[in-house]
């Protein structure tokens, strides 16, 4: 144990001596937490819109007014020329355009069924769909209100099909506040990224500068070395977790339905698991650059298959199997469960067990791979 203590002491000294590293460990993830909390929004607002009002009637002006008043769109321009509309899309100046044809009001009254033309930039498909939905909804509501106030006598009477209005209700997250859902997950990812990066270069670095050889000549045992290099970062990683949770609570004021103690306990297992993975990566690489790239690989895989952006049960089966190797997958359930649903230990213990098992397995693989021999 004395040997492990000596190694831990050295690692701490090295980290605190290096101001850059400290900033990267703590400051950067917290800054990201602040930025991402506002940047990760799946709410679609402020959609740039180009309007071509070829009618200039009371109806058309009302339509445009309603659209502007909805707060969802930002009207970029009033373009008189129909042909020019596509220009806005090509230059990424607008995402949606609405073209009201000439004589729209008149045709409406005469039952001639005029058509409104909507162009949607399909590149960002999600925004496109939602924007399309918004506009259609606003148009439909406006027109039906008009109809009620001034029923046009020659309007085609619906043959059995009247208007259907959607009534959408949202459970669990009524404001569709993506933040409540996303931020706990972001904390998990930030902690994972930091801890994996820290440990992945640890061993390779010593090999590259030559101090590993000096250590190899001493009677230090493999597990003592690996443990000594892991524990300091376990402490730092856990501290980062605490810091991040504080930001989430104090700044974003996201309430936690469940037990903080349980979250911290499972969080600690999560940190350990990530560290073991980082260690494993370190023993698999021969240069620091390789270790970094490999770690990056893993991080990307972990983020994309964590269940943060898309639910795991929607993924193809073989990818679902791969996610069992992803520590974030388990912890994502934990954070979301504790924050949003108040899940208890009885429900979450198998996530914790998975983290523990995988962490130990990774540590074991790492110690198998790691040789005290130089060549």
């Amino acid at each position: 144990m004395k040997v492990v203590k000596a190694i831990i002491r050295k690692e701490f000294l090295q980290v605190f001596r290096n101001p850059f590293m400290l900033r990267i460990i703590f400051v950067i993830p917290i800054v990201q937490l602040f930025v991402l909390g506002y940047a990760i929004t799946f709410d679609i607002t402020n959609i740039s819109l180009v309007v071509r009002d070829g009618d200039r009637s009371q109806t058309s002006r009302l339509l445009v007014e309603k659209i502007r008043g909805s707060g969802r769109f930002r009207i970029r321009a009033y373009e008189p020329d129909q042909q020019r509309l596509k220009w806005y899309f090509d230059n990424a100046a607008a995402q949606v355009s609405l073209a009201i044809p000439r004589d729209f009001e008149a045709d409406l009254a005469n039952g001639r069924n005029p058509a409104l033309q909507i162009l949607v930039d399909g590149v960002d498909s999600n925004t496109g769909i939602v924007a399309n939905g918004y506009i259609q909804q606003i148009v439909a509501e406006t027109m039906s209100q008009l109809e009620r106030n001034h029923p046009a006598p020659q309007m085609k009477a619906p043959a059995g099909e009247g208007r259907i209005e959607p009534k959408v209700r949202v459970w669990y997250n009524p404001d569709l506040e993506s933040r409540n859902y996303m931020l706990p997950g972001i904390v998990a990812i930030l902690v994972m990224m930091t801890t994996v990066l820290l440990t992945s270069t640890g061993i390779v670095r010593e090999r590259e500068i030559g101090t590993l050889e000096q250590l190899s000549v001493t009677p230090v045992r493999k597990w003592e070395l690996l443990l000594g290099k892991t524990i300091p970062f376990a402490v730092l990683g856990f501290f980062l977790l605490l810091l991040a949770l504080t930001v989430v609570a104090a700044w974003y004021r996201i309430p936690m339905e469940g037990s903080l103690g349980l979250l911290l306990f499972l969080g600690f297992l999560f940190v350990l698991c990530n560290l073991s993975v980082g260690l494993l990566i370190s023993t698999l690489s021969s240069t620091q650059q390789e270790a970094f790239l490999l770690a990056f690989f893993f991080i990307i895989f972990a983020i994309l298959t964590s269940g943060l952006f898309a639910p795991i049960h929607n993924m193809p089966q073989y990818i679902q199997y791969m996610t069992y190797l992803n520590p974030v997958r388990y912890f994502m359930e934990v954070v979301r469960g504790i924050y949003l649903k108040g899940s208890s230990f009885a429900y979450l213990w198998h996530q914790g067990a998975a983290l523990l098992v995988w962490g130990l397995a990774a540590f074991w693989f790492a110690s198998l791979r790691f040789r005290k021999q130089v060549s």
């Binding site: 506002y38 590149v123 009247g162 952006f309």
Partner: protein, 364 residues
Amino acid sequence: MRKPKIVTIAAKERRHILRDPRSLVLIFLLPVVMILLYGYAVNLDLRNIPLSVVDYDHTSSSRLVLERMVNSGYFSVTGHYGSVAQAEPDVIAGRSFGILVFPVNFARDLYRPAQPARIQLILDGSDANTATITSGYFSAFLATLNQAGAGFSVRPRILYNPDLESVKFIVPGLAGVLLMMICALMTSVTITREKEFGTLELVLTTPIQPYQVILGKVLPYIVIAFLECLTIVGFSHVWFGVPVSGSLFLLMGLTFGYLFCALAIGITISAAVESQQVAMSLAMVATMLPSVMLSGFIFPVASMPLPLRLLSGAIPATYYLKIIRGIMLKGVGWNELWPNFAILIGFGVFFLLVGMKKFKTRLG
């Protein structure tokens, strides 16, 4: 004629690179794997959104509307339940994403022009993204239905990506993120590595200029980055059918502006740090993270608060994304894209000047 010094340095660098095949493999494997993961795992396209149905009306009208919903391809039915309470467990378990409720007088209200009929959609709000989009689909679907009797119609046309495949949106963005990171990372690491081993000092004692050393070291990585870009474009085209609507030649040319910018950033980083470990972390933090978060890669910038929107304008990836998406998906050309290119070059020059100046003060 004597070989220019830059070429000598570049040749040495190339030998270094080839001697580390694993890194090289990882560099080219990374985008392929990411594209595959995005295409298959994180597929943001929503089709067949599972819904539970509670039909209190039990008329042919409600059944007809439901049939139309399913036929649209956007929704699928996981089960019919007698009440919302009975349907709720499915939502909690994640088997269905929402509950579609036809109220008791649905068919009757359809025939009453004064009062619109209502369909209620209860959504699982914990996945806000899917909820928002599902709501959008739902509104659009009903709007289409409504037009039959409304006296007017709305004709939406989707430009550039008619099947609304999100992979076409994501993949070009991937190029932007990865290229920036690889370039900045590789450049900063290679220069810092020589600093760590002391060989940089050694080279500088020879009658070679610092700028020649730096440019020489950086040259092979420009080649690698170009190859990487081609890999991304090629693979996504072949595997996922992402089109290249515009000129590939123009894309490569404009990509050069972006790479120039990325390399300049890498050089500046290497001037500021002493160890590889810090260089790599800084490169990732300064290039990849902002590029992913604020460039419009996944999250719509327009929906972000003003300070972040302004910040987005300071990120080179934002402009490159417009270039690559423009060329690949929209088929636009130089006329539309040159301002973005100019901005990238401007960024590049700025960082280059800063970096070189920092080098001079460090060594001088």
